[in-house]
Protein backbone atom coordinates (compact mmCIF):
# COMPACT_ATOMS: atom_id res chain seq x y z
CA UNK A 1 0.00 0.00 0.00
CA UNK A 2 1.43 3.36 -1.01
CA UNK A 3 1.92 5.71 1.93
CA UNK A 4 4.02 8.47 0.41
CA UNK A 5 3.64 9.59 -3.17
CA UNK A 6 5.34 12.46 -4.98
CA UNK A 7 4.16 13.31 -8.48
CA UNK A 8 6.11 15.93 -10.40
CA UNK A 9 6.63 17.75 -7.13
CA UNK A 10 8.61 20.96 -7.59
CA UNK A 11 9.81 23.42 -4.98
CA UNK A 12 10.93 26.94 -5.74
CA UNK A 13 12.32 29.30 -3.11
CA UNK A 14 12.43 33.07 -3.50
CA UNK A 15 16.05 33.47 -4.51
CA UNK A 16 18.36 36.46 -4.43
CA UNK A 17 17.66 39.20 -6.97
CA UNK A 18 13.99 38.34 -7.54
CA UNK A 19 14.83 35.19 -9.54
CA UNK A 20 13.09 32.16 -7.95
CA UNK A 21 15.53 29.42 -7.05
CA UNK A 22 14.41 25.90 -7.95
CA UNK A 23 15.48 23.49 -5.24
CA UNK A 24 13.85 20.32 -6.60
CA UNK A 25 11.89 19.75 -9.81
CA UNK A 26 9.54 17.07 -11.08
CA UNK A 27 10.17 14.64 -8.27
CA UNK A 28 8.27 11.41 -8.78
CA UNK A 29 8.57 8.39 -6.53
CA UNK A 30 6.49 6.36 -4.07
CA UNK A 31 7.12 4.70 -0.77
CA UNK A 32 4.94 1.83 0.45
CA UNK A 33 4.09 0.92 4.01
CA UNK A 34 6.91 -1.05 5.60
CA UNK A 35 9.32 0.04 2.90
CA UNK A 36 12.75 1.56 3.55
CA UNK A 37 13.87 4.00 0.86
CA UNK A 38 17.25 5.70 0.92
CA UNK A 39 17.88 8.95 -0.95
CA UNK A 40 21.39 9.80 -2.11
CA UNK A 41 22.64 12.73 -4.13
CA UNK A 42 25.37 15.35 -4.24
CA UNK A 43 25.46 17.94 -1.48
CA UNK A 44 23.05 20.84 -1.89
CA UNK A 45 20.98 19.08 -4.53
CA UNK A 46 17.67 19.21 -2.59
CA UNK A 47 17.45 16.12 -0.39
CA UNK A 48 16.40 18.01 2.74
CA UNK A 49 13.92 19.98 0.68
CA UNK A 50 12.33 16.72 -0.46
CA UNK A 51 11.79 15.68 3.15
CA UNK A 52 10.31 19.05 4.08
CA UNK A 53 7.77 18.63 1.27
CA UNK A 54 6.67 15.23 2.60
CA UNK A 55 6.56 16.50 6.20
CA UNK A 56 4.26 19.34 5.23
CA UNK A 57 6.59 21.98 6.66
CA UNK A 58 7.03 23.42 3.15
CA UNK A 59 4.24 23.37 0.56
CA UNK A 60 5.14 22.21 -2.95
CA UNK A 61 5.21 24.97 -5.58
CA UNK A 62 3.70 22.65 -8.16
CA UNK A 63 2.97 18.96 -8.59
CA UNK A 64 1.50 16.73 -5.93
CA UNK A 65 2.68 15.37 -2.61
CA UNK A 66 0.37 12.78 -1.07
CA UNK A 67 0.45 10.98 2.24
CA UNK A 68 -2.06 8.17 2.81
CA UNK A 69 -3.73 9.07 -0.47
CA UNK A 70 -4.55 12.64 0.57
CA UNK A 71 -2.69 15.75 -0.59
CA UNK A 72 -0.37 17.13 2.09
CA UNK A 73 -1.75 20.28 3.75
CA UNK A 74 0.08 20.93 6.96
CA UNK A 75 1.80 18.18 8.90
CA UNK A 76 0.23 14.76 8.16
CA UNK A 77 -0.68 12.39 10.97
CA UNK A 78 1.95 9.92 12.07
CA UNK A 79 4.98 11.72 10.65
CA UNK A 80 8.31 11.57 12.45
CA UNK A 81 11.12 13.77 11.15
CA UNK A 82 14.69 13.75 12.33
CA UNK A 83 16.29 16.99 11.15
CA UNK A 84 19.73 17.37 9.72
CA UNK A 85 20.49 20.21 12.15
CA UNK A 86 20.43 19.89 15.91
CA UNK A 87 16.87 20.39 17.16
CA UNK A 88 16.90 19.27 20.79
CA UNK A 89 15.67 21.77 23.36
CA UNK A 90 18.69 23.03 25.29
CA UNK A 91 16.59 23.88 28.37
CA UNK A 92 15.29 20.35 28.81
CA UNK A 93 17.16 17.34 30.12
CA UNK A 94 17.58 14.28 27.91
CA UNK A 95 14.53 12.51 29.30
CA UNK A 96 12.31 15.57 29.08
CA UNK A 97 13.41 16.14 25.50
CA UNK A 98 12.39 12.61 24.62
CA UNK A 99 9.15 12.97 26.58
CA UNK A 100 8.19 16.09 24.60
CA UNK A 101 6.20 14.26 21.91
CA UNK A 102 4.02 12.24 24.30
CA UNK A 103 3.52 15.39 26.42
CA UNK A 104 2.33 17.37 23.39
CA UNK A 105 -0.03 14.53 22.58
CA UNK A 106 -1.69 14.78 25.96
CA UNK A 107 -0.02 12.17 28.16
CA UNK A 108 0.59 13.02 31.81
CA UNK A 109 4.12 13.96 32.81
CA UNK A 110 4.72 10.66 34.63
CA UNK A 111 3.39 8.51 31.77
CA UNK A 112 5.36 10.46 29.19
CA UNK A 113 8.55 10.06 31.20
CA UNK A 114 8.04 6.35 31.66
CA UNK A 115 7.63 5.93 27.93
CA UNK A 116 10.56 8.22 27.21
CA UNK A 117 12.87 6.33 29.57
CA UNK A 118 12.42 3.15 27.52
CA UNK A 119 13.70 4.97 24.45
CA UNK A 120 16.46 6.78 26.28
CA UNK A 121 17.76 3.38 27.28
CA UNK A 122 17.31 1.91 23.82
CA UNK A 123 19.57 4.55 22.31
CA UNK A 124 22.09 3.90 25.07
CA UNK A 125 21.69 7.13 27.02
CA UNK A 126 20.28 5.65 30.24
CA UNK A 127 23.00 7.03 32.51
CA UNK A 128 22.63 10.48 30.95
CA UNK A 129 18.86 10.86 31.32
CA UNK A 130 19.21 13.90 33.62
CA UNK A 131 21.87 15.68 31.59
CA UNK A 132 21.24 18.86 29.63
CA UNK A 133 22.14 18.88 25.91
CA UNK A 134 25.16 21.15 26.40
CA UNK A 135 26.68 18.44 28.58
CA UNK A 136 26.44 15.83 25.78
CA UNK A 137 28.59 15.16 22.72
CA UNK A 138 27.27 15.86 19.23
CA UNK A 139 26.67 12.16 18.62
CA UNK A 140 24.78 11.82 21.90
CA UNK A 141 22.53 14.73 20.94
CA UNK A 142 21.75 12.94 17.66
CA UNK A 143 20.70 9.90 19.66
CA UNK A 144 18.44 12.09 21.80
CA UNK A 145 16.82 13.31 18.58
CA UNK A 146 16.40 9.72 17.38
CA UNK A 147 14.71 8.67 20.61
CA UNK A 148 12.57 11.82 20.52
CA UNK A 149 11.34 10.90 17.04
CA UNK A 150 10.83 7.18 17.61
CA UNK A 151 8.97 7.53 20.92
CA UNK A 152 5.98 8.79 18.92
CA UNK A 153 5.96 5.51 16.94
CA UNK A 154 5.68 7.25 13.56
CA UNK A 155 4.15 5.45 10.59
CA UNK A 156 6.11 7.70 8.28
CA UNK A 157 9.71 8.18 9.26
CA UNK A 158 11.80 10.90 7.62
CA UNK A 159 15.47 10.92 8.52
CA UNK A 160 17.96 13.50 7.29
CA UNK A 161 21.52 12.22 7.61
CA UNK A 162 20.84 11.06 11.15
CA UNK A 163 24.10 9.21 11.68
CA UNK A 164 26.57 11.38 9.82
CA UNK A 165 27.89 12.94 13.04
CA UNK A 166 28.62 9.57 14.67
CA UNK A 167 31.90 7.69 14.73
CA UNK A 168 32.10 4.51 12.65
CA UNK A 169 31.46 2.04 15.49
CA UNK A 170 28.53 3.93 16.95
CA UNK A 171 27.13 4.45 13.49
CA UNK A 172 27.06 0.71 12.78
CA UNK A 173 25.51 0.09 16.15
CA UNK A 174 22.81 2.67 15.48
CA UNK A 175 22.18 1.34 11.97
CA UNK A 176 21.59 -2.16 13.32
CA UNK A 177 19.48 -0.71 16.10
CA UNK A 178 17.41 1.30 13.62
CA UNK A 179 16.74 -1.78 11.48
CA UNK A 180 15.81 -3.79 14.54
CA UNK A 181 13.44 -1.12 15.83
CA UNK A 182 11.89 -0.49 12.44
CA UNK A 183 11.39 -4.13 11.43
CA UNK A 184 7.81 -5.17 11.84
CA UNK A 185 6.51 -1.66 12.61
CA UNK A 186 5.25 -1.26 9.05
CA UNK A 187 6.59 2.28 8.96
CA UNK A 188 7.49 3.84 5.62
CA UNK A 189 10.98 5.31 5.80
CA UNK A 190 12.75 7.93 3.72
CA UNK A 191 16.37 8.01 4.79
CA UNK A 192 18.61 10.74 3.37
CA UNK A 193 22.34 10.09 3.44
CA UNK A 194 25.50 11.01 1.57
CA UNK A 195 26.98 7.62 2.38
CA UNK A 196 26.13 5.13 -0.38
CA UNK A 197 27.26 2.14 1.70
CA UNK A 198 24.86 3.17 4.43
CA UNK A 199 22.06 3.59 1.89
CA UNK A 200 22.52 0.08 0.48
CA UNK A 201 23.00 -1.57 3.86
CA UNK A 202 19.74 -0.16 5.18
CA UNK A 203 17.33 0.28 2.30
CA UNK A 204 15.03 -1.76 0.07
CA UNK A 205 15.41 0.82 -2.68
CA UNK A 206 17.89 3.60 -3.32
CA UNK A 207 16.80 6.82 -5.04
CA UNK A 208 19.65 8.62 -6.80
CA UNK A 209 19.13 12.33 -7.31
CA UNK A 210 20.73 14.55 -9.92
CA UNK A 211 22.79 17.61 -9.05
CA UNK A 212 20.91 20.84 -8.31
CA UNK A 213 18.06 21.38 -9.05
CA UNK A 214 17.44 17.79 -8.14
CA UNK A 215 15.14 15.37 -9.78
CA UNK A 216 15.06 11.59 -9.57
CA UNK A 217 17.81 10.18 -11.78
CA UNK A 218 17.29 6.48 -11.15
CA UNK A 219 15.84 4.13 -8.57
CA UNK A 220 17.66 0.90 -7.69
CA UNK A 221 16.34 -2.18 -5.92
CA UNK A 222 18.60 -3.62 -3.26
CA UNK A 223 18.59 -7.43 -3.58
CA UNK A 224 19.60 -8.19 -0.01
CA UNK A 225 17.75 -10.41 2.46
CA UNK A 226 16.35 -9.19 5.78
CA UNK A 227 17.05 -9.31 8.64
CA UNK A 228 20.46 -7.82 7.94
CA UNK A 229 23.62 -7.41 9.97
CA UNK A 230 25.08 -4.18 8.70
CA UNK A 231 28.77 -4.99 9.13
CA UNK A 232 28.52 -8.48 7.66
CA UNK A 233 26.40 -7.56 4.67
CA UNK A 234 29.03 -5.16 3.32
CA UNK A 235 31.30 -8.06 2.38
CA UNK A 236 28.76 -10.00 0.31
CA UNK A 237 29.12 -10.09 -3.50
CA UNK A 238 25.54 -8.83 -3.96
CA UNK A 239 26.38 -5.77 -1.88
CA UNK A 240 29.51 -5.03 -3.87
CA UNK A 241 27.70 -5.50 -7.18
CA UNK A 242 24.86 -3.20 -6.12
CA UNK A 243 27.34 -0.62 -4.89
CA UNK A 244 29.13 -0.62 -8.28
CA UNK A 245 25.89 -0.26 -10.17
CA UNK A 246 24.57 2.66 -8.11
CA UNK A 247 27.93 4.42 -7.86
CA UNK A 248 28.16 4.36 -11.64
CA UNK A 249 24.98 6.47 -11.68
CA UNK A 250 25.83 8.70 -8.71
CA UNK A 251 29.40 9.47 -9.75
CA UNK A 252 28.45 11.70 -12.69
CA UNK A 253 26.13 13.76 -10.51
CA UNK A 254 28.73 14.26 -7.79
CA UNK A 255 31.27 15.30 -10.41
CA UNK A 256 28.80 17.73 -11.98
CA UNK A 257 27.91 19.23 -8.60
CA UNK A 258 31.60 19.73 -7.91
CA UNK A 259 32.13 21.50 -11.22
CA UNK A 260 29.18 23.79 -10.55
CA UNK A 261 30.49 24.69 -7.12
CA UNK A 262 33.94 25.51 -8.47
CA UNK A 263 32.35 27.57 -11.23
CA UNK A 264 30.17 29.55 -8.84
CA UNK A 265 32.64 29.89 -5.98
Amino acid sequence: MTVIALRNATKRFPGTGGQPHTAVRDLTFEVAAGEFVAVVGPTGCGKSTTLSLVSGLEPASSGEVEVDGAPVRGIPDGVGYMFQADAVMPWRSVIDNVAAGPRYRGLSKAEARTRAMVWVERVGLGPFAGYYPHQLSGGMRKRVALAQTLVNEPRILLMDEPFSALDVQTRQLMQDELLRLWQGTGAAVIFVTHDLEEAIALADRVVVMTSSPATVKAIFDVPLQRPRQVEEIRMTPEFVATYREIWESLRDEVARARQEVSRVG
Partner: protein
Protein backbone atom coordinates in the same frame (compact mmCIF):
# COMPACT_ATOMS: atom_id res chain seq x y z
CA UNK B 1 10.88 2.28 35.86
CA UNK B 2 10.89 5.14 38.27
CA UNK B 3 11.09 8.83 37.56
CA UNK B 4 14.28 9.02 39.62
CA UNK B 5 16.90 10.67 37.48
CA UNK B 6 20.59 11.12 37.63
CA UNK B 7 21.19 14.70 38.53
CA UNK B 8 23.38 16.57 36.10
CA UNK B 9 26.71 17.37 37.69
CA UNK B 10 26.98 20.96 38.82
CA UNK B 11 29.77 22.87 37.17
CA UNK B 12 32.01 24.04 39.96
CA UNK B 13 35.31 25.86 39.97
CA UNK B 14 37.87 23.90 41.96
CA UNK B 15 39.09 26.01 44.88
CA UNK B 16 42.75 25.22 44.84
CA UNK B 17 45.35 27.03 46.90
CA UNK B 18 46.23 29.09 43.87
CA UNK B 19 42.71 30.43 43.33
CA UNK B 20 42.34 31.27 47.03
CA UNK B 21 45.61 33.15 46.88
CA UNK B 22 44.44 34.98 43.77
CA UNK B 23 41.18 35.93 45.40
CA UNK B 24 42.85 37.26 48.54
CA UNK B 25 45.10 39.41 46.41
CA UNK B 26 42.16 40.67 44.36
CA UNK B 27 40.26 41.78 47.42
CA UNK B 28 43.27 43.34 49.12
CA UNK B 29 43.96 45.44 46.05
CA UNK B 30 40.30 46.51 45.96
CA UNK B 31 40.43 47.44 49.67
CA UNK B 32 43.59 49.47 49.19
CA UNK B 33 41.93 51.27 46.31
CA UNK B 34 38.89 52.24 48.41
CA UNK B 35 41.03 53.36 51.35
CA UNK B 36 43.24 55.51 49.13
CA UNK B 37 40.22 57.00 47.37
CA UNK B 38 38.24 57.87 50.53
CA UNK B 39 41.42 58.91 52.39
CA UNK B 40 42.52 61.35 49.72
CA UNK B 41 39.00 62.76 49.47
CA UNK B 42 38.84 63.26 53.24
CA UNK B 43 42.29 64.85 53.27
CA UNK B 44 41.56 67.11 50.32
CA UNK B 45 38.24 68.25 51.80
CA UNK B 46 39.89 69.02 55.13
CA UNK B 47 42.80 71.04 53.72
CA UNK B 48 42.25 72.22 50.16
CA UNK B 49 38.77 71.99 48.66
CA UNK B 50 35.56 73.38 50.11
CA UNK B 51 33.63 70.60 51.91
CA UNK B 52 30.50 72.75 51.62
CA UNK B 53 30.34 71.89 47.92
CA UNK B 54 32.12 68.58 47.79
CA UNK B 55 31.37 67.18 51.23
CA UNK B 56 33.68 64.51 52.66
CA UNK B 57 33.44 60.84 53.63
CA UNK B 58 33.23 61.48 57.37
CA UNK B 59 30.39 63.99 56.92
CA UNK B 60 28.49 61.55 54.70
CA UNK B 61 29.01 58.80 57.28
CA UNK B 62 27.68 61.11 59.99
CA UNK B 63 24.65 61.99 57.89
CA UNK B 64 23.87 58.32 57.26
CA UNK B 65 24.31 57.49 60.94
CA UNK B 66 22.07 60.43 61.84
CA UNK B 67 19.35 59.31 59.46
CA UNK B 68 19.35 55.80 60.78
CA UNK B 69 19.43 56.77 64.48
CA UNK B 70 17.49 60.02 64.94
CA UNK B 71 15.68 60.05 61.60
CA UNK B 72 15.35 62.55 58.78
CA UNK B 73 13.53 65.85 58.49
CA UNK B 74 10.51 63.89 57.23
CA UNK B 75 10.49 61.10 59.82
CA UNK B 76 12.20 57.73 59.94
CA UNK B 77 14.57 56.95 57.07
CA UNK B 78 13.03 53.47 56.90
CA UNK B 79 9.67 54.97 55.98
CA UNK B 80 11.29 56.85 53.10
CA UNK B 81 13.11 53.74 51.97
CA UNK B 82 9.99 51.58 52.13
CA UNK B 83 7.94 54.12 50.17
CA UNK B 84 10.54 54.25 47.41
CA UNK B 85 10.90 50.47 47.42
CA UNK B 86 7.16 49.99 47.16
CA UNK B 87 6.97 52.31 44.17
CA UNK B 88 9.97 50.70 42.50
CA UNK B 89 8.86 47.10 43.06
CA UNK B 90 5.31 47.81 41.88
CA UNK B 91 6.61 49.64 38.83
CA UNK B 92 9.10 46.85 38.15
CA UNK B 93 6.53 44.06 38.37
CA UNK B 94 3.86 45.81 36.30
CA UNK B 95 6.33 47.04 33.71
CA UNK B 96 8.14 43.71 33.42
CA UNK B 97 4.98 41.61 33.12
CA UNK B 98 3.51 43.96 30.53
CA UNK B 99 6.81 44.08 28.66
CA UNK B 100 7.26 40.31 28.59
CA UNK B 101 3.68 39.52 27.55
CA UNK B 102 3.43 42.19 24.87
CA UNK B 103 6.98 41.60 23.67
CA UNK B 104 6.49 37.88 23.16
CA UNK B 105 3.05 38.22 21.58
CA UNK B 106 4.20 40.92 19.19
CA UNK B 107 7.38 39.01 18.48
CA UNK B 108 5.30 36.08 17.22
CA UNK B 109 2.73 38.09 15.28
CA UNK B 110 4.56 39.23 12.16
CA UNK B 111 1.84 41.45 10.72
CA UNK B 112 0.89 43.24 13.93
CA UNK B 113 4.57 43.78 14.67
CA UNK B 114 5.08 45.37 11.27
CA UNK B 115 2.07 47.66 11.77
CA UNK B 116 3.26 48.66 15.24
CA UNK B 117 6.97 49.08 14.41
CA UNK B 118 7.06 52.85 13.69
CA UNK B 119 4.88 53.66 16.71
CA UNK B 120 7.10 51.63 18.99
CA UNK B 121 10.20 53.29 17.57
CA UNK B 122 8.67 56.70 18.19
CA UNK B 123 7.57 55.81 21.71
CA UNK B 124 11.06 54.59 22.47
CA UNK B 125 12.58 57.83 21.21
CA UNK B 126 10.49 59.96 23.61
CA UNK B 127 12.63 61.11 26.55
CA UNK B 128 10.60 59.08 29.01
CA UNK B 129 12.07 60.61 32.13
CA UNK B 130 10.18 63.84 31.29
CA UNK B 131 6.94 61.90 31.62
CA UNK B 132 7.50 61.98 35.39
CA UNK B 133 6.36 65.62 35.41
CA UNK B 134 3.31 64.80 33.30
CA UNK B 135 2.35 61.93 35.59
CA UNK B 136 2.44 64.28 38.60
CA UNK B 137 -0.13 66.45 36.84
CA UNK B 138 -2.24 63.40 35.95
CA UNK B 139 -1.99 61.32 39.09
CA UNK B 140 -1.04 63.77 41.84
CA UNK B 141 1.77 63.60 44.38
CA UNK B 142 0.98 60.11 45.66
CA UNK B 143 2.14 56.62 44.86
CA UNK B 144 0.51 56.32 41.42
CA UNK B 145 2.58 58.93 39.62
CA UNK B 146 5.87 57.36 40.78
CA UNK B 147 4.76 53.85 39.87
CA UNK B 148 3.71 55.11 36.46
CA UNK B 149 7.15 56.62 35.85
CA UNK B 150 8.84 53.38 36.91
CA UNK B 151 6.49 51.31 34.73
CA UNK B 152 7.28 53.35 31.64
CA UNK B 153 11.02 53.02 32.14
CA UNK B 154 10.88 49.29 32.89
CA UNK B 155 8.39 48.43 30.18
CA UNK B 156 10.46 49.52 27.21
CA UNK B 157 13.66 47.93 28.48
CA UNK B 158 11.94 44.57 28.95
CA UNK B 159 9.67 44.82 25.93
CA UNK B 160 12.46 45.16 23.39
CA UNK B 161 14.37 42.20 24.74
CA UNK B 162 11.29 39.96 24.96
CA UNK B 163 10.36 41.01 21.42
CA UNK B 164 13.83 40.25 20.11
CA UNK B 165 13.98 37.00 22.07
CA UNK B 166 10.66 35.81 20.62
CA UNK B 167 11.85 36.65 17.09
CA UNK B 168 15.21 34.94 17.36
CA UNK B 169 13.71 31.58 18.23
CA UNK B 170 15.43 28.80 16.28
CA UNK B 171 13.19 27.81 13.32
CA UNK B 172 14.40 24.22 13.68
CA UNK B 173 13.18 24.00 17.26
CA UNK B 174 9.74 25.28 16.30
CA UNK B 175 9.49 22.89 13.33
CA UNK B 176 10.67 19.98 15.46
CA UNK B 177 8.04 20.72 18.11
CA UNK B 178 5.32 20.96 15.46
CA UNK B 179 6.34 17.60 14.01
CA UNK B 180 6.32 16.11 17.50
CA UNK B 181 2.70 17.20 17.81
CA UNK B 182 2.77 20.61 19.48
CA UNK B 183 -0.20 22.94 19.00
CA UNK B 184 0.37 26.66 18.45
CA UNK B 185 -0.08 27.29 22.15
CA UNK B 186 2.30 24.51 23.08
CA UNK B 187 4.92 25.90 20.70
CA UNK B 188 4.55 29.25 22.46
CA UNK B 189 4.88 27.89 26.00
CA UNK B 190 7.42 25.12 25.44
CA UNK B 191 9.66 26.69 22.80
CA UNK B 192 9.21 30.44 22.44
CA UNK B 193 9.01 31.40 26.12
CA UNK B 194 12.04 29.34 27.24
CA UNK B 195 14.07 30.59 24.27
CA UNK B 196 13.28 34.18 25.16
CA UNK B 197 14.04 33.75 28.85
CA UNK B 198 17.76 34.49 28.62
CA UNK B 199 17.00 37.61 26.62
CA UNK B 200 14.40 38.70 29.14
CA UNK B 201 16.70 38.18 32.11
CA UNK B 202 19.42 40.19 30.43
CA UNK B 203 17.00 43.13 30.47
CA UNK B 204 15.58 42.50 33.96
CA UNK B 205 18.94 43.24 35.57
CA UNK B 206 18.97 46.74 34.17
CA UNK B 207 15.21 47.09 34.58
CA UNK B 208 15.18 47.12 38.38
CA UNK B 209 17.71 49.92 38.27
CA UNK B 210 15.33 51.78 35.96
CA UNK B 211 12.43 51.18 38.36
CA UNK B 212 14.43 52.78 41.17
CA UNK B 213 15.41 55.69 38.94
CA UNK B 214 11.77 56.10 37.93
CA UNK B 215 10.59 56.13 41.55
CA UNK B 216 13.30 58.54 42.71
CA UNK B 217 12.88 60.92 39.78
CA UNK B 218 9.13 60.83 40.35
CA UNK B 219 9.65 61.76 43.98
CA UNK B 220 12.15 64.37 42.98
CA UNK B 221 9.58 65.97 40.72
CA UNK B 222 7.09 66.17 43.58
CA UNK B 223 6.30 64.02 46.59
CA UNK B 224 5.75 64.07 50.32
CA UNK B 225 7.77 60.93 51.09
CA UNK B 226 10.64 58.87 49.74
CA UNK B 227 14.36 58.88 49.05
CA UNK B 228 13.89 61.21 46.10
CA UNK B 229 12.32 63.72 48.44
CA UNK B 230 15.31 63.43 50.81
CA UNK B 231 17.67 64.14 47.94
CA UNK B 232 15.55 67.00 46.62
CA UNK B 233 15.43 68.44 50.13
CA UNK B 234 19.19 68.06 50.56
CA UNK B 235 19.67 69.94 47.32
CA UNK B 236 17.33 72.69 48.51
CA UNK B 237 19.35 73.15 51.70
CA UNK B 238 22.76 72.88 50.00
CA UNK B 239 23.44 69.71 51.94
CA UNK B 240 25.93 67.84 49.71
CA UNK B 241 26.43 65.11 52.32
CA UNK B 242 22.68 64.41 52.26
CA UNK B 243 22.72 63.95 48.49
CA UNK B 244 25.59 61.50 48.74
CA UNK B 245 23.89 59.64 51.59
CA UNK B 246 20.71 59.23 49.52
CA UNK B 247 22.77 58.03 46.60
CA UNK B 248 24.49 55.43 48.73
CA UNK B 249 21.22 54.01 50.06
CA UNK B 250 19.80 53.70 46.54
CA UNK B 251 22.98 52.04 45.31
CA UNK B 252 22.86 49.46 48.11
CA UNK B 253 19.21 48.68 47.32
CA UNK B 254 19.99 48.27 43.62
CA UNK B 255 22.89 45.92 44.39
CA UNK B 256 20.70 43.79 46.66
CA UNK B 257 18.03 43.53 43.96
CA UNK B 258 20.66 42.61 41.40
CA UNK B 259 21.89 39.85 43.68
CA UNK B 260 18.36 38.46 44.12
CA UNK B 261 17.75 38.53 40.37
CA UNK B 262 20.99 36.69 39.71
CA UNK B 263 19.95 33.97 42.17
CA UNK B 264 16.61 33.60 40.40
CA UNK B 265 18.26 33.62 36.98
CA UNK B 266 20.73 30.91 37.92
CA UNK B 267 17.85 28.80 39.17
CA UNK B 268 15.69 29.25 36.07
CA UNK B 269 18.50 29.00 33.56
CA UNK B 270 20.28 26.00 35.03
CA UNK B 271 20.34 24.39 31.60
CA UNK B 272 22.66 27.01 30.18
CA UNK B 273 26.33 26.28 29.65
CA UNK B 274 28.33 28.44 32.05
CA UNK B 275 28.86 31.58 29.98
CA UNK B 276 27.93 35.15 30.71
CA UNK B 277 25.34 37.06 28.76
CA UNK B 278 25.16 40.79 28.82
CA UNK B 279 22.37 43.15 27.91
CA UNK B 280 23.01 46.72 26.85
CA UNK B 281 20.33 49.07 28.10
CA UNK B 282 19.66 52.74 28.16
CA UNK B 283 17.49 54.84 30.42
Amino acid sequence: MSAELTAAPAVSIPTTKKTIHRRTRLWSVRLVFVVVWLGSWELAATHWIDPFFYSKPSAIGERLAGWFTTGTAFGSVWTQLLVTLEEAVLGFVIGAVAGVVLGILLGRARFVAEVAAPFIKAANAVPRIVLASLFIIWFGLGLTSKVATAVVLVFFAVFFNAFQGAREVDRNLVDNARILGASRRQVLTSIVVPSATSWIFASLHAAFGFALIGAVVGEYAGADKGLGLLIANAQGTFDAAGIYAGMIIITVVALLAEWLLTLLENRLLRWRPPVRTSGEQRA
